[in-house]
């Protein structure tokens, strides 16, 4: 507990995981809202427009919490990671500043117009506002991922005379292959999350026998978008990402798979417990050869194990990394299966009568959130012990002038505040779900 580096990490991990629970929904939901608004523009599309209005309210509450929990993230680069900011600011300062200029201004300008401006803007204008929020939130995601990609796989930089990093190739940095792959993978997982939430609420209303008309639309859109995005998360985006990890972070891949020995025909571990002390995997259930194929595209490719790397370069929490990675992959597979079956039933016109599937859809919505957080934990734990891969170690990135008593104080205060925030958020969301979608006429009456 006395180690400030540990507390800097704990505070950042807690605040970023909590924060990301909100944008992961709003980024995906922004796309689905744009789709609803576009379907609503067609003649007779009033029902889609009503559906969009309901989801915009859910979006608004999530977005507000995402904004207020996101501001501390930006500041923590300075408060807690001052050495890192000083070292890499000439590079990552670009993407973080561009996020403010290109994404936040766009989002913040059109947010209240999207939420409260439907009458003022008219149908087309309101659709454009939805598009502005979609573009802003997806741009914001890109700049953050480009920043993270530099920490995962630094490119486009050089070391300046004073020992800090400087930017030499802007486009190599902003369009790094790691950023593009991670972005595609991440944004698809965000659409999966939003699709599951939309479908779950459709299933809930259908099972309760109320709001049946909008519930039908939620189920249709949720399962269709959910199937497409869940498949895209795995292939090609997840696959490309895994190959990049195999190529540039082989030690992270070994830890993710709990692999200690090197060798060809590497097996993929379905389940098992990494035993770091004895350097083996307990109770493994494995499929031979699959890891070699996934990582390098060939059955006989050698996949290096942890034993081949000095222990100082191992991710410092092999066990947690192993479980995060397996939870992500396992849940990702299950989510594809759920959306596959649900889409098949929807296509046959039997989804709304299949109460088992409706129950599954209703209860499944937390799992994409868990998979996404586990995925990010895999990425960030796999990056350890580096803050900037191969260049700066995490223990060297913290603020020199901040001691652990200070960090623990702000960590506890933030935990308390976020606990209250979480309760309020759930209260408001349950209220919206209770009110349900309302057609326009009823909406006007509610305000009068």
């Amino acid at each position: 507990m006395g180690d400030p580096a540990f507390l800097h990490r704990l505070q950042f991990a807690f605040t970023i995981i909590y924060h990301y629970l909100f944008p992961v929904l709003t980024m995906g939901l922004a796309l689905l809202v744009v789709i609803m608004k576009l379907l609503g523009l067609r003649p007779g599309g009033e029902a889609w427009n009503d559906a969009a209005r309901f989801w915009i309210r859910i979006f608004g509450i999530n977005f507000a919490v995402g904004v207020v929990t996101g501001i501390p993230m930006e500041f923590q680069f300075g408060t807690n990671w001052a050495r890192f900011s000083s070292y890499a600011g000439n590079v990552v300062g670009h993407t973080l500043a561009m996020e403010g200029l290109f994404a936040f201004f766009l989002e913040s300008s059109f947010l209240s117009l999207l939420i409260y401006g439907e009458k003022r803007l008219g149908r087309v204008g309101h659709t454009l506002a939805a598009f502005a929020l979609f573009a802003g939130s997806w741009l914001s995601g890109y700049f953050i991922i480009a920043t993270n990609a530099f920490m995962q796989h630094p490119v486009g930089h050089a070391v300046a005379e004073n020992g800090t990093l400087r930017l030499v190739d802007f486009f190599a940095f902003v369009l790094s292959p790691w950023a593009l792959a991670q972005y595609a993978h991440n944004m698809m997982s965000s659409v999966v999350t939003a699709s599951f939430v939309v479908a779950a609420l459709g299933a809930f209303y259908t099972l309760e026998g109320r709001h049946l008309e909008p519930a039908r639309l939620f189920l249709r859109l949720g399962t269709a978008a959910g199937l497409v995005s869940a498949v895209l998360v795995a292939f090609p985006t997840g696959d490309v990402q895994a190959k990049l990890v195999a190529r540039y972070q082989p030690v992270a891949l070994a830890a993710m798979e709990g692999r200690f020995e090197s060798g060809p025909q590497a097996e993929m571990t379905i389940i098992g417990q990494p035993n770091v002390r004895e350097r083996k995997l307990d109770n493994p259930i494995q499929v031979p050869g699959v890891l070699s194929v996934l990582a390098y595209g060939h059955f006989y490719s050698n996949v290096r194990g942890l034993n081949e790397f000095p222990e100082a370069d191992w991710p410092d929490n092999v066990e947690l990394l192993y479980y995060s990675y397996h939870i992500m992959v396992g849940l990702g597979t299950i989510l594809i299966a759920i959306m596959g079956i649900a889409s098949l039933l929807a296509w046959l016109g039997r989804l709304e009568k299949s109460w088992i599937m409706l129950w599954v859809l209703m209860l499944a919505f937390p799992f994409p959130y868990i998979a996404v957080i586990a995925g990010w934990m895999s990425a960030e734990l796999g990056r350890q012990p580096w803050l900037v891969y191969g260049l700066m170690r995490t223990v060297d990135g913290g603020s020199p002038s901040v001691h652990s008593g200070t960090v623990l104080f702000t960590l506890l205060g933030t935990c308390g505040l976020y606990a209250v925030l979480g309760v309020l958020f759930l209260f408001l969301i349950f209220r919206e779900i209770e009110h349900g979608p309302r057609p326009h006429a009823a909406e006007d009456a509610a305000h009068a």
């Binding site: 309210r57 900011s85 000439n90 290109f102 201004f105 401006g117 930017l167 603020s399 702000t410 505040l417």
Partner: protein
Amino acid sequence: MLEIWYAIAVFMLTAYVVLDGFDFGAGALHLLVARSDAERREVLAAIGPFWDGNEVWLLAAGGALFVGFPRVLASGISGFYFAIFMVLWCILLRGIAIEFRSHVKDAIWRATWDFFFCVASVLLPVFFGAALGNLLRGVPLQADGWFALALFTDFTARNPVGILDWYTVLVGVFALTALAGHGALFLNWKTQGPVQERSRAAARKLYVAVGVLWPVLTVATQWVDRGFLPALASRPLAWLLAGVALAGLVAVFVGLAGGRELPAFLGSCAFLTGLSWATAACVFPTMLRAIGPEGVSLTAYSGGGDPRGLGTALVWFCVGFPLAILYFVIVFRLHRGKAVSGAYGES
């Protein structure tokens, strides 16, 4: 190149003060100028479409500082660790208060959020003012370029200093007074009826206080930094900007006397802008002033980023900045005229 980025960072920070300043002021005053629920919602409707965008200027300014002066940002933000977290918690509470308040039609619920909205809106200008005060008074920078500040020590403004002392609190009180006056003038422009009348009366009193405090603060600043007034005297640009501030102050009183709402508010904008820019012009190139025996100040040159990278950044800045202004113009155009105590936040 570093001079250009210094100007950009100062411009963005000033835009933040002027823009988020009016919704801070409106929040600090709303319990006084808006008594009923309908009146409070009128205040929220006036700032509702703008406050979130206004707050982005803080992040954009932070981004400009990050890319332009990473060493200054890292040292400054980590040195003010405690104060930064207080500010973050206030920003969080305030955002939630504005966005969640009107979701539930319940007197207790709304009264709670009105209270937090007011408290956070009062504390934030004091903290930001105190932060500026710290920069002017100086911080205990060590030879390695880092520092840590206690929240308070003995309030003497002499080493060992804390974030809060008589001088920095004075700057904080001045900031609160000026931003409350600024917010009152914004409400005078955007509202009508009783809210407008009370705002106008408040603006007059607050700006008289600003007129009294301003010279006091200038003398106090000279007392903590002996180089301040000589720098002002030797820099014509700073003269000019101080003149803009003075003209703005006059415009506020003329506008208020003549019942011209927008010119009075614009006068207030000019006052805050002139004052911020004049201060920045006086202290340049110092960004983190060191006090204490062995300290070396961090300047725009010693704490600045890599000039070649900043050339690249200037290119994307010139693309992004007009877009930000464009969104800003669209939002102000769409919400021109008086705010209506409407459905802001209702669900």
